[in-house]
């Protein structure tokens, strides 16, 4: 059931797109911008690929997040979405709409764009929607628009010029209800041409069983205080007009209803072909355009005899409230400046001097967070949801901060410092050493654990795979520590996080069992332990899918952990060399063999 009054009360309606239809989404954003909103109404897209998609809000490019499924939306989105639009194929409309109604806790309703939704599915969706007190316009609908409030679907135009001219960017006084998606735009622009603008407009779709029926929209138009005139476009076939006529007769509120019923032409032929939509075929005399026009006229509607007449009636009965809005035109002109942005950033933004980190003002973001939590959010590109992730990341950073002056990176930094170079140069030489043999093992181990677990590889065959090629197993083995003298850092990690950990750590430890049985030094080392625990935590605490994890590896997340932590050590080694005022380093002759 649809309740316009409830919809009008939503301050800033938030829309979820199920299926990515770029034309529809961009047109909704253009409406939002032209109507003077500060934020776009589309807050997320459900689609199979990618993490976000680029759109324009005004002349500014922005990203809309993509989620794989409704149940993987975060809690805030799940509870704040007001409306949904299904732009997938007809066969998925039932499942998607049902998910939306059941899972989006505060959703008011939605629309279905697809044609070819099975009749049984449409009827079932009507039951589901009514049972939940929600509404769905469609199937085969271009959607619904409420003047100045929201545009749910292609309705009102897909081009910014058309939207700006349609009289939908502010609340008007004429309601338009149509069974045809093409004709609703025609009617909206006709209303605008005659100087009126739209209170709301809805296309119920030309299918046999529309979920929201024309009469329900008509009832809302009668109840809506802003609506002064109602325009209805119906077609031969079906009995919607009888329901509208009945309501028109009994309603205490009287408003002019201007109706056009298409399909007169069908009556002029003995055996008429199908004119127009699937539903547009009269099953009997009472479903012909003539019969339906008569019943509407008898109930007091202004029934147009022709389309020419419809225009005259609209002109005569609609309130002239279509203001040429300079603000809207100004915004429209702004859209001409659209160009693809050179960079996109949502890690941080600087708009008019206000710095935001991950969508939060800088001060707010940093005030109650430690440095490692701040870094973690910025590295992931989103705020972590679990305390455990933050604590794990923090411990990993602390453990990796330094590992003695002998390691390659530290040596390079110290040599550079002693050559009289400055901090950036000395730090850079240390960092530039990081790679496959120094510091890169976490990344490699992570990738290996992840793929092995994903493909269900046996630990034994995993070990065999490396030993056949004579390769080291990343994350396994240590120079000093051995099975009877374990690495205290690994012990600490396991002590804190091994409990409730998942498949990756379990796999790594099985591998360790096999390798230590061959050689005591082939233990799970700190890199291997961090990698395995990280994978488990991302999967269980942050709900990362395999695809998400692959993407995270592509961003070199593990290298980021190491570089961030070890920079501290490298800087410290530089500073110490400066403090000691050490002279230029030269390798003693006996250290070079010939």
């Amino acid at each position: 059931m649809i309740n316009l009054q409830t919809l009008l009360k939503i301050e800033e309606p938030k829309i979820l797109l199920i299926g990515e239809h770029r034309g529809i989404i961009q047109s909704i954003l253009d409406f939002d911008y032209l109507a003077g909103k500060s934020q776009p109404s589309v807050v997320a897209i459900i689609a199979g690929r990618g993490r976000s998609s680029r759109y324009f809000f005004g002349d500014r490019q922005m990203l809309i997040p993509i989620c794989k499924a409704i149940d993987s939306l975060d809690e805030e989105a799940t509870s704040s979405i007001d409306l949904f639009a299904v732009a997938q194929s007809g066969r998925r409309a039932l499942a998607s709409s049902e998910d939306a109604i059941r899972q989006l806790t505060n959703v008011q309703g939605g629309m279905i764009f697809a044609e070819s939704v099975p009749e049984q599915h449409a009827l079932r969706l009507r039951k589901i929607a009514e049972g939940a007190g929600r509404f769905i316009v469609g199937p085969a609908s271009v959607g619904m628009v409420v003047g100045g409030k929201f545009k749910l679907g292609a309705i009102g135009g897909t081009q910014a010029e058309q939207i700006a001219a349609a009289g939908i960017t502010h609340k008007g006084s004429t309601a338009v209800i149509s069974t045809s998606g093409g004709m609703i735009n025609e009617l909206i622009s006709l209303v605008a041409k005659h100087g009126s603008s739209i209170s709301f407009a809805g296309a119920v779709g030309g299918e046999r069983f529309p979920i929201v029926k024309p009469v329900e929209l008509f009832e809302q138009a009668l109840k809506d205080k802003a609506t002064k005139t109602i325009v209805f476009f119906g077609e031969v076939g079906g009995r919607d007009e009888y329901e509208i006529a009945k309501l028109l007769k009994t309603s205490k509120t009287k408003k002019p209803l201007i109706a056009y019923i298409a399909g007169i032409v069908a009556e002029k032929f003995d055996s008429a072909p199908q004119f127009g939509h699937a539903k547009a075929l009269a099953q009997n005399q009472s479903e012909t355009a003539t019969a339906k026009k008569a019943v509407l006229r008898e109930a007091g509607a202004i029934v147009a005899d022709s389309f020419m007449d419809l225009e005259e009636q609209v002109n005569k009965h609609s309130k002239k409230d279509h203001l040429t809005d300079d603000e809207v035109l100004g915004r429209l002109a702004q859209l001409a400046h659209r160009s693809d942005a050179m960079f996109h950033s949502s890690v941080s933004t600087d708009r008019g001097g206000e710095i935001q980190i991950l969508g939060e003002p800088l001060l707010g973001y940093v005030q109650n967070r430690g440095l490692s939590e701040i870094a973690l959010g910025m590295f992931l590109g989103h705020k972590p949801t679990s305390r455990k992730t933050i604590e794990f990341f923090d411990l990993a950073l602390r453990l990796l901060v330094d590992h003695g002056p002998q390691v390659s990176g530290a040596v390079n930094t110290m040599i550079t410092a002693r050559a009289g170079k400055d901090l950036p140069a000395a730090l850079a030489t240390g960092l530039l050493t990081i790679g496959p043999r120094f510091g890169g093992a976490i990344n490699k181990a992570g990738e290996n654990w992840f793929e092995a677990v994903l493909h269900g590889e046996e630990p034994a065959s995993y070990v065999e795979r490396f030993s056949v090629k004579g390769e080291y197993i990343a994350g396994i083995g240590h120079k000093k520590y051995r099975v009877d003298n374990p690495d205290p850092r690994v012990n600490l990690l396991l002590e804190k996080f091994a409990k409730d950990s998942g498949a990756h750590l379990a796999f790594a430890r099985e591998v360790e069992k096999i390798t230590t049985s061959k050689k005591g030094q082939l233990i799970l080392n700190v890199d291997g332990a961090i990698a395995a625990l990280l994978l488990d935590i991302l999967t269980t605490e942050e709900n990362y899918t395999p695809e998400d994890i692959r993407q995270l590896f592509q961003t070199e997340f593990c290298n980021a952990i190491f570089i961030f932590a070890r920079s501290v050590g490298l800087i410290a080694h530089f500073m110490e060399q400066k403090r000691l005022d050490e002279s230029l380093f030269r390798l003693p002759d006996d250290q070079i063999s010939a």
Binding site: R91, E119, Q120, G182, M183, Y260, A262, V265, G276, F307
Partner: protein
């Protein structure tokens, strides 16, 4: 169209399978029919029924059902149907029975539920006794039927296959029911084509049947085009010697344009109806427009008009689709100019300005009289413009 009739052969296979009974009918494709093949299947000692299987109502009255035939007579009946231009038939065992035992049973999907209709006075004359037809609205499962144990069991099985196979209409008339089960003599089923994915092969496109109709070549060509395109493309010849030929877009706007001609009294002058929508490609629009132009050129009307019209499109790219139309006009321009064809255009939507400008430029260039407008002109006005000067055609064109 989302509802389509399927063959009686497929309908009965589904129905009898639901009732747990074997179906022994044979479906015959008359366009590839060979007598020798059939005779090996038939039994000389048995009697058969032969029926045209093409979704035709009142077959008995049209002599499209032959009862109680021996095997050679079966072959004769099939040959007769083939000569009469039918393409599908079924051969079934003849089942002698008392006419008064014939029942009528139907299910129809409506908004308020499935409407069950039943009459104990079934058979060919059921429509003469509407007072004997009982109806019941079935909503959800577990509805009390109350027709007695035997009938209820049969009806429940039928309701179940009706839902599972996404049927929208099912009729069995006559139906016989006794303690041993049900005998289904004639059956008709209509299905929801949108549900093809969900019925898992219970029926497929190859089961759809249409009554025998003489189709124009242009209609067949557009059917073929539509079958391979995700866009909507339809064409129907209304009057092959009409004066007004239509290239329309959109399910709603196309009817408004046709209505407006009818309102002005020019429905008999309309040569064709149809529409393209859902953003067809340039090539599809080109091929579609070619069929309409061929109809226009072949028409014997004195004065001819081409009306290219549609509402304000949501997604259909006006410039792209107009390119296809322009190519089609280009192909036939000499003939169109020779016949003095005038072109009237009214269209809005994505890339409207570019599309309209191209069209205007092209028509002026080749010297075809035209009027090209965007959505600022009313959909009705272009129709009024087009009918000017058609009065004589209206009088001389037969419907």
């Amino acid at each position: 169209m989302s509802r389509k009739k399927i063959s009686e052969y497929r309908a009965k296979s589904l129905i009898l399978n639901a009732l747990g009974e074997p179906y022994r009918g044979v479906s015959i494709d008359l366009s590839h029919y060979k007598k020798s093949q059939l005779l090996t299947v038939l039994d000389d000692t048995k009697k058969y029924v032969v029926k045209v299987d093409q979704a035709i109502k009142k077959r008995n009255q049209q002599n499209l059902v032959s009862l109680n035939l021996g095997s050679t007579e079966v072959a004769q009946a099939l040959l007769r149907f083939k000569t009469e231009g039918y393409t599908w038939a079924i051969v079934e065992d003849f089942y002698p029975h008392a006419q008064k035992k014939e029942l009528f049973f139907a299910l129809q999907r409506e908004e308020r539920g499935v409407i069950l209709s039943f009459s104990e006075k079934g058979g060919v004359n059921v429509e003469e006794h509407p007072e004997d037809v009982k109806t019941l609205i079935i909503e959800g499962r577990g509805v009390k039927l109350g027709f007695g144990k035997n009938l209820d069991a049969v009806f429940r099985s039928l309701l179940s296959v009706f839902e599972k196979a996404h049927m929208t209409y099912l009729e069995i008339n006559p139906l016989l029911v006794n303690e041993r089960g049900a005998v289904v003599l004639d059956a008709a089923v209509e299905v929801d084509t949108a549900a093809q994915f969900f019925v898992e092969g219970a029926w497929t496109e190859s089961d759809f049947r249409e009554p025998k109709t003489v189709k124009y070549e242009a209609e067949k060509a557009v059917d073929g085009l539509a079958a391979t395109s995700p866009s909507s493309l339809t064409l129907k010849v209304l009057n092959k010697d009409g004066s007004i030929f239509l290239l329309l877009s959109g399910g709603g706007a196309s009817v408004v344009v046709a209505d407006e001609f009818a309102n002005l009294g020019y429905h008999e002058a309309i040569g064709n109806y149809g529409e393209y929508s859902g953003n067809p490609t340039e090539e599809e629009t080109y091929l579609y427009a070619k069929q309409v132009l061929k109809l226009l050129i072949d028409s014997n009307a004195k004065s001819k008009k081409l009306v290219i019209a549609g509402g304000v499109a949501n997604f259909t790219d006006v410039a792209k689709t107009f390119k296809g139309v322009i190519r089609a006009i280009e192909d036939d321009k000499e003939e169109l100019i020779r016949q003095g064809v005038q072109v009237f255009v009214r269209r809005g939507g994505p890339n409207q300005q570019a599309g309209l400008a191209q069209m205007k430029h092209f028509l002026n260039d080749i010297g075809i009289q035209n009027k090209v407008n965007g959505s600022e002109l009313s959909l009705a006005t272009i129709v009024h413009d087009a009918v000017k000067g058609l009065t004589s055609d209206k009088l001389t064109n037969p419907a």
